[in-house]
Each structure stands twice: as structure tokens, then as C-alpha cells.
Assembly symmetry: C2
Homo-oligomer: 231 residues x 2
DNA sequence: CGCGCTTTGTGAACACGTGCACAACTGCAT
DNA sequence: ATGCAGTTGTGCACGTGTTCACAAAGCGCG
């Protein structure tokens, strides 16, 4: 390993798959698997083996020809590349149905995204405790973000309040937003946004479901997870 | 309009954007907007105007040059193409945190996906009522799917139970699955699967967040929603 | 009616992502 | 040492998606 490593750009599609590989590799590690081939990983991830190899090659040449990849080492490398060597506390805006479910979902904390706070604009919702975190008023947002060094915000408000929530998050200093509200958020350049729209997912399924009729069962695309983080 | 229209194939990426256009158009309609240009729609959807035109052109030539698109008509056409001319009842497997939030989320029913039922394997969870729907035992799944003609199932179980949930859904007759569990589901050919993995979304944000350091703020990809439904 | 303004629809170039196929390389057995 | 079986890393061709740029077409006005 020579001097300083140049930070190469990893294709968007690959970035979206790395977390999947990571999850599988961690699971394999707990099952005492020490080494895995691209073929094996591909099988578990539901993708093509060549794709796995190409994806992993963006991290560097960490495999051993004739053998495969050392699971623990790969886990370390993917974690490092994804920036998962430390926790990323998140703050949730909106303590409704979804916000509560997210705050109560242990998967976040377990995977390195502890809930640093949850806020709502409704005074009535403030004070209750969800998943060990007390709901605070949205006016405390800036204080939470700054004291806990939060850089990721989650918008779990009704659609009408989502843009305001995003604006407040940005003002508070958050630089990445995960948006669950069915609206297109406008954010300043340099802020990353990803959206998860449940109804959109169902509508896409509806499209393929509808096409089924009269066409007979047929393959309808792959199962990738390629979506950009906006600027 | 001549005889029977041949059903053309719409690109995956376009299918993923149509629901977004639809939501915006419906909103515009309620605000009495009768006509919209590709430019205007693109602005609201956060995409390129040429992309909007190309996307809409897959539906047919429904715009008027020099004028734009009639909102109400476009709404109708997109609905028709996405198969949203009738409701698609869904059944939710898993009445934990997330399942409850989904069942209680009105957005589903409002957008044409009423919750036909929610089931859990835990007898303790059976009987409680969420969002007006009573939780039933997973053994009733087949009965619910068949009596209510459900073709879309939602997996909202812990990861360890997800594959079993999917198997049961498929056996019960469901042909599309929306998976919230962080596992890669194995399904027979012909079954569509889309997955929503919250931790993966956060990990992707983490990647771009991490790259920010030392690189300075910069654009990090687009904000599309292109993901396949698997076969 | 004809002219100019506006906006669509689309051909063509380009960018991006995928998958094949194979050379390069490793480890093991003999 | 040498050969062989196995697996990676990657060049290349292909397919998909995006964007530009412009001809074709509608509308309104004089």
C-alpha cells in the first residue's frame, strides 16, 4: 500500500448495492463463513456474479483468485467505503404514525443510525416517549442537530408539512434528508435527498400487475436499488 | 382513434416516474389548473422537461403543441396506464411497529390501495384493531386473499420471518410483493417484488455524506426512482 | 389567411449500467 | 516443479436511460 489512496468515484448503482452485500456478509460472518466467492455472494444477493465482482473491484482488488473474498475483510472495506466506521445519528421530524414506527424500529440503531431525537410541531405530541426517545418540539430541532452533531434528517410528516420540515432541517444544519412524505422537496444545492414513497412503490407494482392480464406471466425487470441522492 | 390499441412496453424508469407526475397533476387539478406544459410539470417533479415529454410520449401523443397538456386528461391516461382505474386491495403480513404504521396510514387507501387485511403469526397480536382493520392470524391469509381478491402483499415482518411470509403470500395467490424486511426474497418466476429497505437508504446517504468531507459540497447524482420489479 | 410565438414529439448523440468471456493469477496435488 | 481446477479482475459489446436540438404543429393576432 503506497502513499495516500486516491478516492475513486463509485457508480451510483454500485453504491446502492453495497449495503445489500454488506448485510449479507455480516450475516455470513455470524455463521462462521470466512470466505465467499462472487458466485456465492451473487446468489445470496439475487444478482449476477460478474456484477458482484465489478462492484467489489471499485473498492480495490480485495479478492484472491481461485479462492474468493475474505468475509471479515470485505465487511471492513465496505463499511469504510460507505462511511459506516462511525455512527450517524438521525433526527426524525414528525411523530405521527410513521415517525413513531421509525423511532421504535430497532433496525436503525443496530445498523449505525441511532435516533438522536424526534420532533413534532404539535404541542400535544411533545413529551411522549417512543423507543426510548422523548418527543420534543420542532423549535428544539437546531439544538438537537447541533449538540448531537446530526447530519441526517428524516421527514415523516404529512405532505403539507414536508417542505417546511425540510427547510427547518437544512437551516438546523442537516446535509442529508430521507423523505417519506409524498412530495418533491426543494433543497439547496449540496443537500442530498432520497425519497421513499410507499404509494409510488405500490403503483409501480400495480402497473406490472395490470399488464399481467392477458399477457401471461412474464419477467418484469430486475430487482435493483438504483436511485440517486439529489444535490 | 382507430381500432384496438397495441399495448406498448413502457421503460422501467418511466414507469417509476409516472406515479410522481400523477400525484402532481392531481394536485394541480384540485388547484383548478387545467393545462400544464412539460416545462411546468418538470419543474414540479424536479426533473428535466425533455424527460417529461419523452415519458408522456410513451402513453401516446396527448399534448397540444404550443399549449401543453390538459391536466384532467393526463391524469386519466396515466391512471389507466398504471392500472389505477380500480382499487388494488393489499394485505399486510406482520403487525409489529411497521405493519401497524402502514395499516394506520391513510395514504394507502386514499391512493387506491385499501388494506384488505393485516395478519400476524403471534396469537397475542391477533384481535386488536388498527386503522379500522382487525388483526387476524396468518393462517387466515389464504382466505383473505381469495375472498377479497388481493393480488398485492406487503411484508412487514422481522427479517427472520420474511421469507416465510413471502412463501405464504405466494401460496395464498398473491402475485406482487412489497418487501420492507431487510432480506432478499426468493420468489417463483412471475412474481413481482419491490423492496424498501430503510437502512439501505440511510447507508447510501452515509456514503455521500462521508464523501463530502474534504471534497467540498458538490452535486451527488440525481433524484430518480428507478427500480425494477423482479420476476 | 399568413405570420410569429410557443410547445410538443422525437431522432440522434451521449452517458451509464450490465453481462459475457477470457486472461491472469492462486493454491493444491502429484 | 509442473499442471490443473477454480476464481478474480476487466476489456468489450450491448442495452437502457438521458439530454440536446430541432422540425412539426397548434394558436392567436393583425
Amino acid at each position: 500500500m503506497p502513499v495516500e489512496r486516491v478516492r475513486r468515484r463509485i457508480p451510483e448503482a454500485t453504491v446502492a448495492r453495497l449495503p445489500v452485500y454488506l448485510r449479507i456478509l455480516v450475516e455470513q460472518a455470524t455463521e462462521e463463513v470466512e470466505c465467499i466467492s462472487s458466485e456465492g455472494l451473487a446468489e445470496l444477493a439475487g444478482v449476477n456474479a460478474a456484477k458482484v465482482r465489478k462492484d467489489l473491484s471499485y473498492l480495490g482488488s480485495y479478492g484472491t483468485r481461485g479462492v474468493g473474498y475474505e468475509v471479515a475483510f470485505l465487511v471492513y472495506q465496505i463499511r469504510r467505503e460507505l462511511g459506516l466506521t462511525h455512527d450517524w445519528p438521525v433526527v426524525i421530524v414528525g411523530a405521527g404514525n410513521l415517525g413513531q414506527a421509525l423511532a421504535g424500529y430497532n433496525g436503525f440503531g443496530e445498523r449505525g443510525f441511532p435516533v438522536a431525537g424526534i420532533v413534532d410541531i404539535e404541542p400535544g405530541k411533545v413529551g411522549s416517549v417512543i423507543g426510548g426517545v422523548r418527543v420534543r418540539h420542532i423549535d428544539d430541532l437546531q439544538q438537537i442537530v447541533q449538540s448531537r452533531r446530526v447530519s441526517i434528517g428524516v421527514v415523516a410528516t404529512p405532505p403539507s408539512a414536508a417542505q417546511d420540515a425540510a427547510d427547518r432541517l437544512v437551516r438546523a444544519g442537516v446535509t442529508s434528508i430521507l423523505n417519506f412524505a409524498p412530495v418533491v422537496l426543494a433543497v439547496p444545492r449540496g443537500i442530498s435527498v432520497r425519497k421513499v414513497d410507499l404509494a409510488v412503490e405500490l403503483q409501480i407494482l400495480s402497473y406490472y400487475e395490470q399488464r399481467r392480464v392477458g399477457v401471461g406471466l412474464q419477467a418484469v425487470g430486475s430487482n435493483d436499488s438504483t436511485r440517486g441522492a439529489s444535490a
